[in-house]
Each structure stands twice: as C-alpha cells, then as structure tokens.
C-alpha cells in the first residue's frame, strides 16, 4: 500500500490536482469548483468537518496532499446529498468525498480508528460473508470493536433497544448461527474480487 503511495508521490510530485483527477472517483470535477461555499453551508455535519468540501477542493488545488489524504473530513460525509443538490456547478461532491476517502484508504493514509472508517470496514466484511448484512453480528461487532469489557458495557446500555427489536421481529437471535444470505455466495465473492482486481490494475497503471 505505502508502495503505491510512494509511487504516486513520485509520479505527480507537487501536482496533487492532477493526481486526484487521475485516481479519485469523479476527481476530475475538482477543478470546476468555483469556491462559492454552498456545499459547506449546506452540510448538516458542516461544523464537525475539519475542512469542509469547499476547503478540501482548494487544498487539492494548493497541492496539500498529506493534509487532504490524512484528513478525517471526507469520512464525516453521511451521503445526504444536500451538497450535490445545491452545487451551482453541479459537482458530484458526495461522490468526490467518498472517492477521496477510498483513495486515501488504499494508499494507507486514511486516519486510523476513525469511527466511520471502522464502521465501513466492519459493514463491508460482514456483508461479503454471505452477500447480505447480518444485523445481529454487525451490531455485536460494533459493540465489541473496542474490546470485550467495552462491548459488554455497550450491550447492556442498549439492552432494551435490542429486546424491543427482537420482539418486533426486526432482529433474530437465530442470525447468530449463520444467518441468511444470497443464493450464490461464492459467485458474488468472485465477482467482487474481479472488480477489485480491475480497479487495482487501473491504479497500478497510473503509478
């Protein structure tokens, strides 16, 4: 991973914008930002971003590679799409944020122990097992992600919620043993694997 990072630094030197254009999903739109700030003003989580989208775009143009890729800002995006709807230049801002996050993760620069990042990973691994999300296991993995003691505390704190969900048949304890999935799990896994290979080949070609 850091291999790729070194390669990318080598290739684009100080032109981070070109690196983003070439490697980040929808990254070629970054140059079209006109710095009006409507995205930052529209974001429901705006105050919690270290660098709101408008600033991220400006930082990319100013070549602030490390600051952008190691930032936790993109990870704050909840995909509400308010910014996309409002952007006067029609930039796919939400997609760019996810693209930047993915790219940073791939290069190994994404912040560690960032909750959204952790959740995304847990969610992905959970789903890839059987092609469907196992909600019981997803919940448990989240509870216990910071250790056993903390996990028990979390579980007790949410005991009532869990019981109610089971009563309402929104969650089944039987899911603990295997749980439901898609018909052809291995087929799905193969497909995703292939897609990952293609994506990686594309990135490697850009090195």
């Amino acid at each position: 991973m850091s291999d790729m990072n070194t390669a990318m630094v080598e290739k684009y030197r100080n032109d981070f914008l070109k690196e983003v254009v070439a490697n980040v999903e929808e990254g070629h739109w970054v140059k079209m930002c006109m710095q009006c700030g409507v995205c930052s003003g529209s974001c429901p989580l705006g105050p919690h971003w270290a660098h709101p989208p408008q600033e991220i775009f400006m930082m990319i143009r100013a070549g602030k590679r490390d600051e952008v890729l190691s930032s936790d800002s993109m990870w704050m995006c909840t995909s509400c799409y308010n910014c996309i709807v409002r952007c006067p230049r029609e930039l796919p801002i939400t997609h760019i944020m996810h693209g930047l996050a993915t790219y940073a993760k791939r290069l190994g620069l994404a912040p560690r122990n960032q909750p959204t990042s952790q959740f995304s990973e847990i969610f992905w691994n959970n789903m890839m097992k059987r092609g469907r999300v196992n909600e019981l296991k997803l919940g448990l993995s989240l509870y216990f992600k910071d250790g056993f003691g903390q996990g028990v505390k979390n579980a007790l704190a949410n005991q009532k919620l869990g019981m109610n969900m089971m009563k309402a048949k929104r969650m089944s304890p039987a899911e603990f043993f295997g749980g439901h999935g898609v018909e052809d799990t291995s087929g799905l896994q193969k497909m995703i694997k292939k897609a990952e290979e293609i994506e990686l080949a594309r990135l490697n070609a850009n090195k």
Binding site: H28, W29, K31, M32, M34, Q54, E55, M58, R61, R89
Partner: protein, 765 residues
Amino acid sequence: MSDEKKFAAFTCTGCGIGDRLDVKQLEMTATRDGKMPSCQTHEMLCSKEGVAMIQNAIDNDGVNHIMIAACSRRAKIEAFHFPTVAMSRANLREGVIWARPEGDEHQETTQEMADDYIRMACAEVRFMEVSQPSGEQGCVENILIVGGGVSGMTAALEAAAAGFHCHIVEKEGQLGGWAARWHKRIPFRAAPEGTPNTLTAYLPEPVDNDVADLIAQVEANDKITVHLNARVTRTSGAPGRFSADITTESGQLVTENYGAIVQASGWKPFDIDSLPKYGHQHPDVITNVELEQMAREAGDGPIKRPSDGKEVKSVAFVQNAGQASDKEGYLPYHSGIGDLVSIKQALYFKAQNGDDCDTTILYNNLRTPGAAGEDFYRSGQQKMVTFTKGEVNEVANGGNGATVRFKDKILDEDVELPVDLVVLDIGMVPNAGPDPYAANESLEGMSDEDREEAKEKMASETAVTVESILNLDYRQGTDLPQLKWGFTDSHFICFPYETRRTGIYACGPVRRPMDIRQAQDDATGAAMKAIQAAVHATHGEAVHPRVGDLSYPRFRKEGCTQCKRCTVECPFGAINEDEQRYPQFNESRCRRCGTCMGACPVRVISFANYSIDTVGQQLKNVDIPDEFEEKPRILVLACENDAYPALDQAAMSGQEISPWARVIPVRCLGSVSLSWINDSMNSGYDGVIMMGCKRGDDYQCHFVRGSTMAAERMRKVGDTLQTLNLEPDRVAVHEVAITDIERAPRLIREMEEVIERVGLSPFKF
C-alpha cells in the same frame, strides 16, 4: 400666423369628471375667472370626435391658445397633440377627482380644487406663446468622431450605414487603438443552449483578433473620412452647426461643419510603476498589456520569459493590481473586465506553452461580465487554469522568474508562489480631457475671497495639464464634464449616452471601463443618438429629455444686468457670451430645463411656453379663502419628470391628496424662481413645498444639476421669510422619486400639520 392670441377652452366630462363635479360651474369659471371667450364640453374629449372638435376650432376659428380641462398633462399626450398652438391642461382627473374621496362632505373642497385648476390653466395659457423653432440650424449630415479605436470605428460604420457622413480623427498613425494590438479577443458568445455540463463539452475560447476587418471596412467606406496623426484643435457652434478644426501633426488644418459629435477617445493603461510592491521593475513581471504583445510575437509558439528567453512553464496572474482601493496612488475603481482578460491570457499559455504550463489566477472577486462570461470562466477551469482566492502582498524578483507572496483567503495562510512569469492585471484609465468643473467642486462652500485665492494657488500648482480632446470654445470649459475618476458624466441607467454637452456623445471606455463587445454596443448607441441630435437640431427641436420641444430660452436684453449667473449655472454649458457680454443662448445646445430662468435675478429669461409669468400667474389665480374659512392653501411646485407623475400615480392608486394642495408642474426644480416663493407668500399661501429629484453623485435629476442648484438657492429662502416675519417651516424642499407614490401625498399632509402648528398665513386678504 398672426400675433394675436385667440383662446378657447375645452372641458371633458368623461372618466367620472362629469359625475363628480359641477360642470356648468367649471365652464363659468373658465369663461368668467379664466377669461376664456368660450368653453366647450365633450363627454370624452380624447375620443376622435373630441379631438376633432378641438382641431376644428384651431383650423376654422383661428384659435391658437387652448386650455384643456381633462386628465393630467402626462396622460393622453398622443390624443392632445396640437403642435401648432399653445396649450395648457387643467388636471381634473388625477389632480382632483381621483385624489379626493367621494361624498357630500367633501364636495365643496373638491369643486374648489377643480375650479382653481381651471383658473390656473387659463392663466397659464394666457401668458404662453406659440413655440416656434429659431431656424438657427440647417441640416448637416456629417458626424465628427474623435478616436479611431473599436468604439470610434463602430460609431462611424453605424452612422454611415444610416446614410450619414463621418470624419474620424485619430491621434495616432493607424486606426484600431489598443484592441488592434491584442493577440486574441474575449469571446462574445456563451456556449450554445443545451450544452451539457460535462468536462468535455465545448466551451467558449479566445477568438482571433478581428479588428483588422473593422479597419478594412472603415477604409473601404466612401462615407467615412479618416484623419490620422490628427487632433481636434477647436470646436465651436452647437448641434446642427458644429464647426471643428482638425490639425494634423504636419500642421495641416481642415475645418468642417458637423451635425453632432461622438467622443470615443478610449483609455490608457494605469501606470503600475508608481506602485513598486507589484514588482513591475523586475524583468519577469509584466502587465497584461505587455503580455498581449509577447503572445502576438510568439505567434502560435511558446511564450518565453523576458529575462533569459526560457519557455514559460508556470505563470501567475495578479488580479486587480493597483485597482479598487482607496489607498494613495491606487485606482479607486475596478476595471471590471480584467478577470476575463486574464482567463483569455491563461488560455494562451495552455494553447501555446502546453497543457503542463501551470497557470494560476490570483483573484479576490472574480468578475466575468458579458454573454460568454460564466462559460468562459468554466472554459478556463476545464483546461486546468487554477483559480486561487488570495490577496497579493508583494511580487519579488527571483533573478529569473519571480515570487508572488500572497494570503490565501480560503485556506487563511500566507503563501509563496515561485513562477517563471508574473502578469499584472492593471486598470483602464479614461482618456478624457480636463474636467471643466474640477476646480469648482473642490471650491464649493468657500467664501468668494478664499475661492479666488485657492484658484490662483491651484493654477500655479498644477504643473501637469491634461490635453484637451475637443477644445470646445464653450464658456464653461473645453471638454465634457466628468462624474468622477475622469469618466464622462451621464446617467448610467436613465440616459447612458447623454453627456452634459448636448449633441456630443461619449462612448467606449471613456465612459466606463469596457471590453470590445460592450464598446461596440455603446458606439452604436452613441452613433444613433448623434444622428438624432443632428436631425432634431435641424427642426429646432430638443432631443433629451424634452424630446420635440420647440421652445428655447430668450431674454429681454434691456433688462439684463450681465450678471453671468445664467452662463455659469447652465448644467449643459449652452450659454456663451457675445461680444457685448450679453448671454448667447445657442438654443440647440439647450435641454430646456429652465435652470437659467430660475437663476436670473432680474427675471428676463423666458421660454415661449414656460416663463416666470406662466407659473407666477397660475399661483396668483388660485382663489385664496380668507382666514375665517380655515381653508389653508399649499403650493406644490413639482418636477414634471418625477414628482408630478408620482402624485398622478398616487391618485390612480387611490391615495388621497390634501384638498388644500395646488400642484404646479415645473420643468426642473432648477427653473424655480425665488420670486414665485415670494409671490406665493405675499398672496397668502400657508405653505410651499418644492419636490425635485435626488441630487449628488447618484443624482436622479434629468438635468443633472438642476435640483442641486435649486437646493443652493433655496437656502436663501429663510432670509426672505424672516423679512416677511413668517416661519421658515412654511417652505420645504424635498427629494421625491417617481416611485414615492405613498410618500409624496404624505409630504403634503406633513405640511398641513406644520400649518396647523404655526397657524394660517397672516397675508390673506
């Protein structure tokens, strides 16, 4: 036409006038008090039959003075258009029945109002004369165009296409001005409608310079004569009969007559050397004007940096260099098009030096006016021009190349940007002659002695003299008056092409900073106005704003004291002095505002249809009830362009106007004579309100200085009132806009309150 005045009055009973008012009494007022020999009534005077009735009286009974009592003089002007006679109109509709509520309790005062307006209109027409053109001007289908750049050439081509001859006077050895030197020009058109918002869609790009085509068209046009290396060394006369001396560098002199003049004297680049922080002294720091030449010389090849001839691989554009700041030595305004220019020039580098040439535009507020504007900005972004919002603190020498130190305003940090080349976006300075009033304005408010002293001091101190462009032999100065910062004065919204010298139209960047496209539109407008001025002058008609008015100022020579006030106060420099030092009115330079009439202390200046008497007699013919009746009278002198229509509108929208008010429209508050105020106070009016237009830099006055002049003169009214032992509150001057529909009637109500407080005038007899 015989000199004998023959009168006739006409009353309309339509629009509810007949229902609300006692028409028999109105007729009696017109014939008995108004001394009209006859008064005919029609149920719809503006109808074909009604108009025919009036026309019949004019054609068959020899009537040459008519009084029409119907709607406002601002309404039905097409129907009541009788140019061969003198006409006054009593405003019974907007002025009376629409402004007053119905009901028996109001009937008496409403009828009184209507009777007064009839008396006033009759008095007015009795003192009017039929306007006739002076016949001073012939028809000269020839336009003088000063300046041979894009504006001047466009004006010439447009005027020639309309059948007029033109003379272009260009001070340099070739046509084309600055624009001919540009490598490429800013695109005029936006992306086609329906262009998708994708990163590969075609967006406007810099366009090949086409000024050479324009030059070729001018040279091929047999209606256009070009004088190169030439200047206008003298201009005299008036619209329809201008005479100008054109002198070439070699001393050759041509004198020609012109119907009108277009001044397209253009602009010059701001001298950025006076601000060393922008580093223009360093070899690799150039202005946007200099870059054009470099790009042009490079052809389609790469642009090289001046210091060592290395191909430029990184360039920074510093926007607003020396502009839009009130700091000493900066241009106080923003030239508006500099951002478009920099986008264009950044694209030169992308096209000629390759996609990998880094181009950064350091802007503060990015402005891209014009049809292509936003799309051109996107075009730059699409091609990877970097736009950075920042404030440049310094441009430092880098030996080869330069370093821009700026504050990034989005990321809030100080940045150093080393580049091969720095391009400074410098401002456009108008090429205007000396402002005739520059000295006067700085002297405003001084005593006469101090003023003389300051004038002498100023004359000795100002070593740098600006060369005159027009060399007018007008008493008020050699060139077009300026609003500020050297740009010629005009009203940007209401009448952009007019200058303060009738028949002389400014266009292009001498009026405000603009690009080729805007200058072409501007020049077309100015050419049309010039033709209009020349043709109207031939008929002795005013052009603007009293279009078609045949009256012009005349004076009673034996009464004139040669005080010169009219020649100084005319906002349009229309009045010169003749050899005997009497005023010489040059009527086709005149806008017919009457500011001279209001200025004249001995009241000798008048127009055929507007004079001290036409207004003075109106106010004297109002019936003033004695004080026991407790019916005050408020005289309202309202500007016919704004305040009067505002009052009409108020009535139309159902607002009440005080039954004590008697409104007289005046051409401009500048035409108000102090004698009217005096007379009204002596005749027992309880209050006087003057409603004029906004004055100052953002004036709304159609005659530019009229309302300012009025405000100055009215300061002295206080003294007059004191000598009469009257309260100064009885006279009020207000700025009223045409939109002040609710405010205008309120101002009259406020005067009612004042009268209630201070009591009725003791001068009622």
